[in-house]
Subunit: 524 residues, 2 copies
């Protein structure tokens, strides 16, 4: 029997293997391998576009990318691929006990890929690619000009195409639920809505209490910090959490991101620097490092297969949020790591106690920029987008009325007044890319992170003490064994049940933020 | 009638256009566009592998690259592609006057691509990819260990596969001529051999006379030059010759190279630095800049078509050699540019006259490293490889006997004794990649460069005076109009006839080096 086994995990309890004895499964495996390899080439085009490519090159890169995407779509929608999926499904149905969980998940993901691809015509894929290219360029121009009207029509076209995509995928379902499922197939839109409603219900009054409390001094984080020092600290913090530079790299980009070009061997992160704000330079690197640890922890047996990535955006974000927030904003971690900050920037940190540094890192400050939000108000930014997206996709809100609706919600939920559309409704890139349904996974990540952390704290009652000793590998190893190495084998709620004993439960996050911010602001 | 016209060249005498009125041609155009776009994605994988990728990522990159190459090969060998080529050929044969030179060259290149692909089985493409991956890794290990025996078997396998490739492509022809034609389709192996024989005949006695003359002092070029300064000078020299950073970038790599990822909009160069030798850092950047100017000068109408690259390796090398040698080692150029060198490295250049700097740049120094060779002895390095390659491919020399044969030829032709195989027979990467037939195009480049320069000097009798004024654009514009913009439309000897009135003629090079080095060494 042919098996693909991962040598490095033989000490773990469950080995991850494919049984490729069945000819139908072997055929499907080979076809998905080709698609996965081509997708990695497309990811490289995108990574390069955002980190290395000169802007003048986009005139040729954009159509090259559209071609490769069309070729991938064509293969994924090919009748031969559909037949291979069906044959493998029949083989598994006949003797399920002869197949591993990896086999079964491979077929499940291949089925999902085929269904998605064959329901959407290749001409639509090109239209969508063209429309989002146009919208992305319009977004950049409009944002620079602080003029939403330049973005409105291209955005309306993208909204229309997203609605059309949902129609192609499942004409009977709520189109927004169909789009949401593209990013978080492991739980339903209803579950997500309920969880976010609970978060909002708890966050708004907690925020009011914090506003009434004495503010935290964040002035030490605002100074003039040289790029080279911020970059050095970004590297050191990535090393502190266990990112492997031998299998990746750190670059700068306008929006920090993590790109796997072949997990677990090529996983790259980017960050951005902010001369005037240490946090904005330091925490994005740890956030992206958390994403990267997920991909670097995937079992090598899943390399070059459809299972060789994190299982969903929500679970992915839980890993980045864990390292950014539960570790990167925690005093025990900084007790061990603060000396790096003090060494690179003696002014002002040499004389600032670590406790004050950490308090400043955690200060709550309602503002209108999502990516600069504190840990508490962050979810309100998401909830605003989540509500507006549904209104747009359901046709209850016209694109031209979007800025006013946006500003009203920021006023109502966060108590801030947006100064202009560039830092308001046009602050994020996502809608220009057509990623409707994506934003909510950021909040799901926060919730899953709190839920996983509750379990980790049961496993490691001495977690804080060990972090304070400079240890981080015990956390990484736990994540690797329980979450990372499984790739896409288990979907989000199934994974959550395996790891925490229950599906998504927002009460862990509610308890976490309530306790944390009541203590921080002396509210109890 | 649908035409693809280039707006920016409307002032030039001949516009470059495709007439896509004929349905057969339009079909072929679309098919070649897909293949070209996929090939650009493959080029990006390779560029990234050599400049950005962490070494630990190669375990996944190598098979991803093999997959993409196989997909490209499959498309190029597809019966539908062959039928499209035939249909377009029939259309052109019926009414040749209805088609432009671009149309006709497109069909010619598509035919060549199809014939090459369909004659070689896809399994061979994978075998070749695997064997060269193995050989490349073995080469690196063996070179580091200075132990040819570790490289011998993988290299023998590559030689065998190259012979097999030639057999597939044209079983009736001399296999080495078939391999040579892969790189220089515009002239024959016999023409190349005759030209190289003439070069050798002139070079060897000239070298003997130089050896007997007073040596040139090159000591100012040998010092301790900081990386940042060398990098800055590389950028400044690229700017001086007109490289467009808006459509490319400069990186470091072990072996300098130029990669077009979509001419004329994305053309990247690399260089290397050498702390202890200014020339080795400065001239590679100008050399690669010359390659890049070629790709950046290609007519935008040829973008994303099989004609959108330089026409052959020999012509490509003529453009890099022109900027490296005819400009980059010429005193008039440095009269205008030397201040950059003096500003970055006041020690020792502030007090060194420009004439002495240029004399040092041109010193002849027979040695055993090709990439560090002076302009005169360079071709002897090539001739050695050219002779050994033929002996290997014809089965007259066994791989195990290669080091001894190599060392003997270095002794005979250059009068140097190779100290070990790492700097001897294993100094170049080419054979590990299976690029047999490639080396001679470097010398063809030197010959074409001299031939084109002779014509340029007739066109611009004041060339030296203008260079000394800091002008370079007149040379670039001449190259663009006569060579660059045509991409692959004209093959090498045809292009040479158009531009210089004759096919490859080594006498231009003979006159050039004889005059130059007799003057430099006071031999006349």
């Amino acid at each position: 029997m042919t098996t693909v086994t991962n040598q490095t995990t033989t000490q773990t309890q469950e080995a991850i293997t494919f049984t490729l004895a069945d000819a139908a499964l072997k055929t499907l495996f080979d076809l998905t391998r080709e698609i996965t390899d081509l997708s990695a080439a497309a990811s490289l085009q995108s990574w390069d576009q955002q980190t290395q490519m000169a802007m003048g090159s986009n005139v040729v890169r954009a159509p090259q990318m559209a071609t490769l995407r069309a070729v991938i779509h064509e293969r994924q929608a090919a009748p031969a691929f559909g037949q291979a999926v069906e044959a493998a499904e029949r083989a598994i149905a006949a003797t399920p006990e002869g197949f591993t969980v990896a086999d079964q998940a491979l077929v499940r993901e291949a089925r999902r890929g085929y269904d998605h691809a064959m329901r959407v015509p290749t001409s639509f894929v090109r239209d969508f690619s063209d429309a989002t290219s146009v919208a992305w360029e319009a977004w950049m121009r409009a944002k620079a000009a602080k003029d939403f009207s330049q973005f409105a029509d291209p955005l309306a076209r993208v909204v229309e195409l997203c609605r059309q995509r949902a129609q192609y995928l499942d004409p009977a379902a709520d189109p927004y639920a169909v789009l949401f499922d593209l990013y978080e197939p492991g739980l339903t839109l209803a579950e997500c809505s309920a969880a976010l409603a609970r978060v909002r219900e708890v966050t708004v009054p907690l925020l009011q209490r914090i506003r009434a409390a004495a503010p935290i001094d964040t002035s030490p984080l605002h100074g003039d910090f040289a790029d080279a020092g911020e970059m050095q600290l970004s590297r050191e913090m990535l090393e502190a959490i266990g990112y492997q530079f031998a299998n990746g790299r750190l670059d700068l980009s306008a929006h920090p991101f993590t790109q796997s070009l072949g997990s677990p061997y090529d996983v790259r992160v980017t960050t951005r620097l902010d001369r005037h704000n240490m946090v904005r330079a330091l925490l994005p690197a740890m956030h992206e490092g958390g994403h990267a640890l997920y991909e670097l922890g995937i079992d090598p047996a899943l390399m070059r297969t459809p299972l060789g990535h994190g299982t969903s955006l929500g679970i992915h974000e839980s890993q980045s949020r864990f390292w950014e927030n539960m570790v990167g904003r925690a005093e025990p971690f900084w007790q061990a790591q603060y000396h790096h900050v003090q060494a690179v920037f003696p002014q002002p940190f040499k004389s600032l106690p670590v406790a004050d540094f950490v308090r400043a890192l955690n200060a709550v400050n309602p503002d209108f920029i999502r990516v600069e939000a504190d840990e508490l108000t962050y979810n309100l930014h998401i909830i605003i987008r989540f509500e507006l997206e549904q209104a747009l996709i359901h046709g209850e809100l016209a694109v031209k009325d979007l800025p006013a609706a946006w500003n009203q919600k920021y006023h109502d939920y966060l108590g801030v007044d947006v100064t202009d559309d560039a830092v308001g409704v046009m602050q994020d890139i996502h809608w220009s890319h057509g990623s409707f349904g994506y934003f909510s996974t950021y909040s799901l990540g926060n919730l899953f992170a709190a839920q996983f952390t509750a379990t980790m704290r049961q496993t490691f009652p001495d977690m804080d003490a060990r972090l304070a000793q400079g240890e981080t590998s015990f956390l990484r190893e736990w994540q690797r064994e329980n979450i990372h190495r499984w790739g896409k084998i288990f979907r989000s709620n199934d994974l959550s049940r395996r790891v925490t004993g229950e599906p998504l439960n927002p009460e862990h996050f509610v308890r976490y933020v309530t306790a944390k911010f009541e203590r921080l602001y002396g509210l109890s």
